[in-house]
């Protein structure tokens, strides 16, 4: 087995003990990108000289010498981000030291390359980018999930063991779910975000995509700039699954009911396995404003990016920009302000409701995505309620966390028709470590079967 196929923490630990030469690991990583990326299109830039320089200067941090990728959503000192697009209206994108870059550098990590993403982060599919679509390692004709498509496909494809993504409406959790990985959307404001082109965002966070929860914990700790201890120690936490008695809230309609039967079955089995592992309790709960969560989230997220969308800017959109984004940007430019104001009122109501709910439960659980990855060329899914665009179905499952700021994690729970399915857990504000604990409990309960699954062609 190549050292590249070890998890992030194992690589870090063996580098620290001298068992692995980090220079050789980086060379191997770059060689593998060259070998596998033509099929996956997960990586859009490598820069061996800068990567080697990072390694030479690597601090003695928890990720010393470990190669990782970063989504094309933040600048690096030697490369401006492109956000997967030919141009970003109104934004001045320049090289620089972004927060995630500094966090990785300070942890001793080596950025081996920049990962592809859905153009302007506007979809959960990953099928559109100025660099071309990213392909899912489980089935190259299917969506890898977006918008952190490159980070997802790269980790699942074995190019690196960890990658930094961004999540504004589910964009870490979707590729984690589609690619069979663990992905953490941190509590808003907890992970490094400086340098993001949407500086005013109240929805987007950076976060890790890795094979399992322990690796996510390690990478998240770097992005948070603080350790995330397992099994306790997080300020304000109520209890840990290892303390026994996790209270798991489920909202059946629509988050469980309107889900493809195969995905629902796998998630139900995982929920029961988690409950049994932590001697927990599954509690049926209601979310009174659930029907308003999706429109409010979409409006707030769209308005964050609307300030630069003047008629002059949108009339001059690059013809290289995908037609979907040209339409979306023009739509965004005319969103009614009164609706957006109502969206903020809904956010206030939902945050209050959620705060009350998290007095009675520790986590909420439902499928991360309502169906497995659809084809790249036709990203529609079949749900009990009828056919749906993958984007609409996926967003419905994810946006509560972005609207309210709470953390969420996607954990693989098996395969439906050969493609990964995933359970999502949401926790109260600041309970990121609790979610990682719960994800690890689920891994234990399932003998790590699902986090150790690899795409057949790459096993």
């Amino acid at each position: 087995m190549s050292a590249l196929d070890l998890g992030l923490r194992e690589q870090a630990s063996r580098i620290a003990s001298g068992e692995i030469d980090p220079g050789e690991l980086l060379d191997e990583c770059l060689a593998r990108i060259e070998e596998r990326n033509p099929e996956l299109n997960a990586v859009v830039a490598t820069f061996p000289d800068q990567s080697r320089r990072m390694l030479e200067r690597a601090t003695d941090g928890p990720l010393r010498g470990v190669p990782v990728l970063i989504k094309d959503e933040w600048p690096l000192p030697w490369r401006a981000e492109t956000v997967g697009a030919a141009s970003v209206p109104g934004a001045r994108l320049e090289p620089g030291e972004s927060g995630p870059y500094r966090a990785l550098r300070d942890a001793g990590a080596v950025i081996a390359g920049v990962a592809n993403m859905h153009e302007l982060g506007s979809s959960s599919t990953g099928n559109t980018s100025v660099y071309g679509p990213t392909h899912n390692p489980w089935d190259l004709e299917r969506c890898p999930g977006g918008s952190s498509s490159g980070p997802g496909a790269a980790v699942a494809g074995g190019l690196v063991s960890g990658a930094v993504g961004a999540d504004g409406l589910g964009s870490i959790r979707f590729p984690a779910a589609y690619c069979g990985l663990t992905g953490l959307k941190p509590t808003f404001g907890r992970s490094a975000m400086d340098g993001h082109h949407i500086a005013n965002t109240e929805t987007i966070v950076s976060g890790p995509l890795c094979s399992d929860a322990a690796d996510c914990r390690l990478l998240a700790s770097a992005l948070f700039g603080e350790p995330l201890p397992a099994g306790g120690g997080e300020a304000g936490r109520r209890r840990s699954p290892t303390d026994q008695g996790l209270r798991i809230g489920v909202v059946r309609d629509p988050y469980w009911d309107d889900v493809a039967p195969g995905v629902r079955e796998l998630c139900e089995a995982a929920l029961e396995a988690l409950r049994a592992e932590v001697a927990g309790e599954v509690i049926e709960v209601e979310l009174r404003e659930k029907d308003l969560v999706l429109p409010a989230s979409v409006l707030i997220a769209q308005s964050e990016e609307a300030a630069h969308l003047t008629p002059a800017n949108v009339n001059a959109l690059s013809p290289e920009l995908g037609v979907l984004n040209r339409g979306i940007l023009k739509l965004r430019a005319i969103l009614p302000g009164a609706l957006t104001a109502r969206a903020f009122l809904v956010r206030a109501k939902v945050r209050r409701e959620l705060a009350e709910l998290f007095e009675r439960i520790d986590v909420l659980a439902w499928p991360t995505v309502p169906a497995v990855a659809p084809p790249l060329t036709d990203p529609t899914i079949e749900l009990p309620s009828g056919p749906s665009s993958a984007d609409a179905g996926n967003a419905r499952q994810a946006v509560l966390a972005n609207l309210t700021g709470v953390p969420g994690i996607s954990v693989p729970v098996g395969r439906d028709g050969g493609m990964p399915a995933a359970l999502q857990l949401l926790g109260g504000w600041g309970s990121d470590a609790l979610l990682l604990d719960a994800a690890e409990a689920l891994e234990r309960a399932t003998d790590r079967e699902f986090v150790e699954l690899r795409p057949g062609a790459l096993a």
């Binding site: 429109p295 409006l299 949108v314 037609v323 206030a348 109501k349």
Partner: protein
């Protein structure tokens, strides 16, 4: 003749009012995206939010202040 919803009428009028140019394909995309989210937007437009309190200086990293 197919009925045009109020929100679709808004879309057409807003493009014209703000002087935003959109070709046929872009208009079709806008109408498609709009149609996906229109039911939710309509719910939001008509929801009874009277008396609902704003959250002043919301800190999304924490629960709302009581």
């Amino acid at each position: 003749m197919e009925a045009v919803s109020p929100l679709q009428r808004y879309l057409e009028a807003a493009l014209e009012t703000f002087g935003i140019e959109a070709d046929e394909v872009e208009r079709a995309v806008m109408a498609g995206v709009w149609s996906v989210y229109e039911p939710g937007m309509e719910l939001l437009r008509t929801a009874d939010l009277d008396g609902a309190e704003h959250e002043l200086r919301a800190d999304l990293s924490r629960p709302p202040k009581r």
